[in-house]
């Protein structure tokens, strides 16, 4: 295990200065997520337009550097994408965190993939995987209009 894999510059940067932090007014989908183990929480807001494209996305919440960076990078990455594409990216990302060595989707450009791969360091820290995935599960829940609060624990 190497801490440098986990706390890469990009993570520290996004963790310290999260992009897209704060609610915006005309969102039409949102969902909350909790990590009961550590008390972290996230609230994802997004606006899906008539063409099912993510017009805007933001989040509120607090958590560790990993969870804040993950939400920050995620919101940056899915803005402007179609719902179908967003779902493919989410599945690809969660698959990578869980087992795959790399990202497979063609929707993302190489530099975007590199950015997302900076979160792959959590694989070596099983207790921290939930920090990286919470906002992604919450995004899915917002898209699916689920009323259920996403929890990392059952």
């Amino acid at each position: 295990m190497d801490l440098k894999d986990l706390y890469q510059e990009i993570i520290l940067d996004h963790g310290k200065n999260p992009r897209n932090l704060g609610k915006f007014d005309n969102y039409n989908k949102d969902a909350k997520g909790n990590n009961p183990l550590c008390g972290d929480n996230v609230h994802v807001y997004l606006r899906l337009n008539e063409n099912k494209k993510v017009e805007d996305i933001a989040f509120e919440g607090h958590g560790c550097a990993i969870s804040m960076a993950s939400a920050s990078i995620m919101t940056d990455m899915v803005r402007g994408k179609e719902e179908k594409e967003v779902k493919e990216i989410v599945t690809d990302f969660l698959g990578m965190i869980k087992e795959k060595d790399s990202l497979e989707t063609n929707i993302l450009k190489d530099d975007e993939k590199t950015k997302l791969m900076s979160l792959s360091g959590v694989k070596q820290y099983p207790m921290r995987v939930k920090c990286a995935t919470l906002s992604w599960h919450t995004l899915t829940s917002a898209l699916d209009n689920s009323d259920q609060i996403v929890k990392t624990e059952e």
Binding site: K16, C38, G63
Partner: protein, 405 residues
Amino acid sequence: MNIDDIKREFPIFDDKIQNNDLVYLDSANSSQKPRVVVDRIYDFYTKEFSNVGRSVHYLAVAATNLYEQTRVSVQKYINAKDKDEIVFTKGATEAINLVANTFGQKYLSEGDEVLLTELEHHSNYVPWHFLRKAKNIKIEFAEINDNGEVTLEAIEKKITNKTKIISVSHLSNVTGAILPIKEIVQLAHSKNIPVLIDGCQGAPHLKLDMQDIDCDFYAISGHKMYGPTGIGILYAKKKWLEDLPPYQGGGGMINEVKKEGITYGELPNKYEAGTMATAQVIAFNESIKFMEKIGIQNIEKHEKELLDYGLEKLRKNNSVNIIGNPKEKGGVISFTIEGIHPHDIATILDEDGVAIRAGHHCCQILHDKLNLPATARASFGIYNTKDDIDKLNEAINKCKKIFNL
């Protein structure tokens, strides 16, 4: 008392953990186990195993005697009046659930109040919450002050003529505050209110005398007292154990079972349904002996020295913010670092073998009050040294470096 000798009695420190010497600062969560406890479990299973209290063969009788010896050891250790006041449970959580459930069944009804404090562990809130749902009772919380302590006055302020039971921690697992439990019991008893003490953090670190404290119930966790997991103690005054209904039904807790009805067994069997954690109970006797050999006064003194040293060291470390400043404090230091989330602190410390806990420590009410989602916590046991605290401080500095603080 030589701490290095004591530390050598704990096999966990024999080997490196992830290439580091282990700096174990998570004893408030669970303590490490001395060799005598681990060996006792092995020996019992390999040479002496039988279920207790049922069969009459040699092994069964011998195991029953060993099991009951632990009861007597615990009774003496906490100076309970009678050995039948000691009930074995699977942990302190079950001990509190037992009281909430049986006391609630018999004595609580709609509108009655249970008085807790804001610094209770979830295990001393959720069982009462069940009653709030089932019986529409009310739960009141005595407030903490700015030092992170709960005073006698704070308790008194929340007592009403509806208060039916008071349930409070002996020692906070977050701020380390030691509550004035004897005074709380005196006050409560003057108003005819029984008191349960959650002694999870009290029992491993403080001298206990049930007859002196005079509480009605005291819950103990075995695994925080250098004992095995799966064992807890409920101390309860005999009058309560005789008066309250049984908690769980099953074998061992009955007197006579007929199709028409059932009568329950004598104390303490009434509350020990089914096969208990026999090996753990028997091994827990070794934990008690281990602590007695060192002497609780020596344990208190050692941990106080560590606490004073740790507080001094961390207060000097810029950007470390220590949570709470109670006058009477046990060996727990919860802290935050401005700009680093406690989980990141814990992961980075772990890289150097420094094991702490991060999160809300099962005290969300308290963290909400402090307006903190999480804290980092270092907690001490008999095996810790000043060197451990130096390593903690160095690892904190490494954290700050990684985060460019």
